[in-house]
Amino acid sequence: MIKIVDLHKSFGDNSVLTGVNLDIKDRETITIIGGSGCGKSVLIKHIVGLLKPESGNIFVDETEITGLNEKSLSEVQKNFGFLFQGAALFDSLTVGDNVAFGLRNLKDLTEKEILEKVEKCLLMVGLEGITNLKPSELSGGMKKRVALARAIATDPKYIFYDEPTTGIDPIMADVINDLIIHLQKSLNITSIVVTHDIASAYKISNRIAMLYDGKIIGTGTPDEIKKTENQYIKQFTTGSSVGPIKMKVRER
């Protein structure tokens, strides 16, 4: 279980998180929705320890992680898998080496076992016979799937998806959605998804939380979110320009 308590973070004069509180239950898929630049990615980077907050606490399975030193934090990070927005595959390594990277560093496996695991993970995301290709030879959708294979290879307890369907075509986006649901069912892991793709959020989530103005302003199941009376969530999920959330047409 992950518990976030009163999390604050600023970058210079820009306050991004202004008191985030959120509980993430084991084996659920929770989607954090919110406008571009509202701090969704910043929030999940705090949970995995890539960013340090100014104040507030994050508990991962009862361990408070914001005050941990690098060594203790890296122990906690072994429970995490992360799918980055742009896939973040290592350009200099082949697909096989990318997927095997975490296994070589975190698990005590023989090279034969690692190669078998790499093949298995790539098969789970619907890819095979591409272990010797370089990331530059892959399409956007394939890169995301390889990154997903890399994220699940170490058998994480929690997997984080940062905008998993952004930048790919609608059909491939739905394939990724199906993969997230399939992995959730077959691996029984906790998934934390960050997206502004509402269709995707409704399809894959057990629960949806909306981040607005640096705070979580509401949570609920997809059905509850669809029927919500919260005007902010309603405006965002219906994608209307009319409502309490004001977007600037012209920036000065």
Binding site: V48, A88, D91, F101, G102, N105, R150, T154
Partner: protein, 259 residues
């Protein structure tokens, strides 16, 4: 204006402190953790072996022009070209070998390190390393640190030799000076401390290049434009620091009787 200057001063102080912290972490990681030998050898080839042609080209012409200039100057003063071997030898070994090699490596290798790490930073590959249980300092900075600290002094010795050979060819085949005279000019006056003088400086220059390049790469922000900015800053800052520190290092080493 005072506020702007103050902010710049604070930012620069912050950068120097953070870069030094990164250097300390790199050294600590090198001492305390098991290193990936294959990665280090690969970096040594990229940084050292691949820099050989450009270093050779730079130093051979530097040695040649030194011989030529010394010959013209001494001819004007003493009516004959003398001490060419000594001037070329001392200049190459104590000054031009280490400084020119460091400047060439800062341009070739420093820029490449900053661009590579900067691209990894802006495409979240460095964050990905953390999530896969790998400390980027250990995986990226340490191999480059070891490689450059080992390879730059080796390249410097190579540059010294090539420069002296360049001077030899100009002296013997263009100026008609006997080969033994050129050789004795070097061996009679130079001591082993002079070689150490250059090598100690090259180790400091290596530390400057790798620290600036890794720091600028790791702190790169702002997409492709940011990578370009980091790369340019790496080359400019490294070169300025090499030239400025060269004066103080020389003064300090002479004070301690090294060269």
């Amino acid at each position: 204006m005072i506020t702007t200057l103050g902010k710049k001063f604070i930012k620069t102080s912050d950068d120097i402190g953070n870069a030094f912290t990164m250097l300390v972490k790199t050294v600590h990681s090198y001492i305390s953790e098991k290193q990936d030998r294959k990665n280090i050898i690969n970096q040594m080839i990229q940084i050292g072996v691949m820099s050989v042609p450009v270093t050779a080209l730079t130093s051979v012409f530097t040695g040649m022009v030194l011989a030529l200039q010394t010959a013209y100057s001494t001819k004007n003063i003493f009516n004959e070209p003398i001490y060419i071997g000594s001037v070329v030898g001392f200049s190459m070994v104590k000054e031009l070998g280490p400084v020119l090699t460091a400047v060439v490596v800062a341009g070739r290798v420093g820029a490449a390190i900053a661009a590579e790490l900067g691209t990894m930073k802006v495409t979240e590959q460095i964050d990905a390393l953390y999530t896969l249980g790998t400390n980027p300092i250990k995986y990226l900075a340490v191999p480059r640190f070891i490689s450059i600290v080992v390879m730059l002094p080796i390249l410097t010795v190579f540059a010294d030799i090539i420069g002296i050979i360049g001077g030899f060819f100009v002296s013997v085949y263009k100026l008609g000076i006997a080969a033994t005279v050129y050789k004795n000019d070097i061996l009679d006056y130079m001591r082993v401390e002079d070689l150490f003088h250059g090598l100690i400086k090259s180790i400091f220059f290596a530390l400057i290049i790798v620290t600036v390049a890794c720091y600028k790469g790791f702190t790169c922000e702002g997409g492709a434009e940011g990578v370009g900015r980091s790369t340019t800053q790496t080359v400019v800052i490294s070169m300025v620091m090499i030239l400025v520190s060269d004066y103080f290092l020389t003064a300090l080493l002479v004070l301690f009787g090294i060269g």
